[in-house]
């Protein structure tokens, strides 16, 4: 059992290191205290984002599922790179996600049924963070 015990200690170490690495992975733009709240209303066929022309800075997207299917909300930067996500939003549930948006073009995506490319909404972010 000694080999297994050693193996367990190593994996515990790896897991701990992974946790630390993940925690310090700030430049992906998903962490922070959030900022101005932007409402997102997700239904089975629609994805309404309250504000699509934004100034650079931190935001909190408040996603409300008014549909009948479990949904998720993503913010993609160019090249389908995930900037923010909030998954497993059940019918009638509201979940928040904080994101720091720099200047550029983005797409918000609601994915009712948790699959596919989703219903896309173009977001334009201008200027430098204040």
């Amino acid at each position: 059992m000694r080999t297994f015990r050693l193996f367990t200690l190593i994996t515990a170490g790896v897991l701990g290191a992974a946790g630390l690495a993940a925690c310090s992975d700030d430049d992906e733009g998903g962490s922070g205290n959030g900022g101005e709240k932007i409402a997102v209303t997700a239904t089975d066929a629609d994805c309404q984002v309250a504000k699509t022309q934004l100034a650079a800075g931190p935001y909190t997207f408040v996603v409300s599922n008014k549909g009948s299917k479990e949904t998720e909300f993503y913010i993609y930067a160019a090249g389908n790179k995930i900037k923010a996500e909030v998954e497993h939003i059940g019918p009638g549930v509201t979940r928040d996600v904080n994101v720091e948006l720099a200047e550029g073009g983005y797409e918000g995506a609601c994915k009712p049924g948790m699959k596919g490319d989703g219903i896309r909404v173009t977001l334009t972010v201008t200027g430098k963070a204040s």
Binding site: F4, G19, C23, G34, K69, G92, G113, M114, G116
Partner: protein, 290 residues
């Protein structure tokens, strides 16, 4: 209202099953192999994972800061899943060795032969719950916060979680009834499917974290046949991580794990010269003098 209860019930059921399935098999294994004294360790592992998930969930919900970026969170999930697969694979090989021994005349030595170490027990129980525990806790808090306006989601998710525990218990109750050799073979097979599913989903998480490419290259799209909001989809996803639109890499991972491990598990008489390129270092562990 009905959708709110049902939809969130299925979410609770699915998220719960991810944990209760592995824990039930672990408990059944310990009871069947005469190692009831280790059950406390299982509950300890489960308890710590639940406490950590609930605690962190509360922190993130009420203090309203994100500890990790979404990429970081997916990466952590992915790594925890790979570690979980390693533990489960190790246990599968235990099952196989034990099934072989039982076909001989070694019944009397059962308790000696099957020594599942304390670390393995606590580790597996902890990982089974912790993998998705934080996410589930966050969901639960979100549902609870909305309960003053709409209690449906909170009721739904609570019943769903309770049902997953019930199903886990049912699995345990049926598993302990069958004879020993059959038990080890069948639970081994079930664990292979579960582990393949966890590995497949870890690839999905690595892709979402940006570590692996191809997150939107789908292998196939079964969503026409397979409604993701249905009860059977919840069961399939919760137990075996079967999703309607898996990516190519996910599918390769599933097949790449399941086929060699299944073959190795089912083929008679092969010893440690395992041809199976499993992701865990298990072929080296199996012949170790445990």
């Amino acid at each position: 209202m009905r959708n709110e209860i049902l939809g969130n019930y299925l979410i609770g059921l699915r998220e719960g099953l991810e944990a209760t399935l592995v824990v039930s098999i672990l408990v059944a294994f310990l009871v069947k192999s005469g190692r009831r004294e280790r059950l406390g360790q299982v509950w300890a592992g489960v308890g710590v994972a639940v406490a950590l998930s609930v605690g962190f969930g509360a922190l993130l919900t009420f203090v309203a800061t994100d500890l990790m970026s979404p990429a970081g969170h997916e990466l952590f999930d992915a790594i925890a899943s790979v570690v979980a697969v390693t533990f489960v694979t190790w246990m599968i090989f235990w099952m196989r060795r034990t099934a072989r021994k039982l076909s001989g005349a070694l019944r009397a030595k059962l308790t000696d032969a099957i020594g599942l170490g304390g670390f393995a027990v606590v580790g597996m129980a902890f990982l089974a719950v912790a993998r998705e525990g934080l996410e589930t806790a966050l969901l639960f808090y979100a549902n609870a916060q909305g309960a003053t306006t709409s209690p449906g989601p909170l009721l739904g998710i609570s019943f769903g979680l309770a049902s997953s525990v019930g199903l886990g218990w049912l699995l345990y109750a049926s598993a302990v009834r069958i004879n020993l050799a059959k038990f080890f073979t069948w639970t081994g097979l079930l664990l292979i499917l579960v582990a393949a599913g966890i590995l497949k989903y870890s690839i999905h998480d690595f892709q979402e974290a940006g570590v692996l490419p191809g997150g939107d290259t789908y292998a196939f799209d079964l969503s026409a046949v397979f409604d993701p909001g249905s009860w059977y989809a919840a069961l399939l996803k919760g137990m075996l991580n079967i999703t309607p639109t898996p990516s190519v890499l996910e599918t390769i991972a599933w097949v790449g794990y399941a086929v060699p491990v299944l073959l190795f598990f089912l083929l008679p008489g092969r010893k440690s010269a395992a041809p199976a390129p499993t992701p865990a270092a298990t072929p080296a562990e199996v012949p170790a003098a445990v």
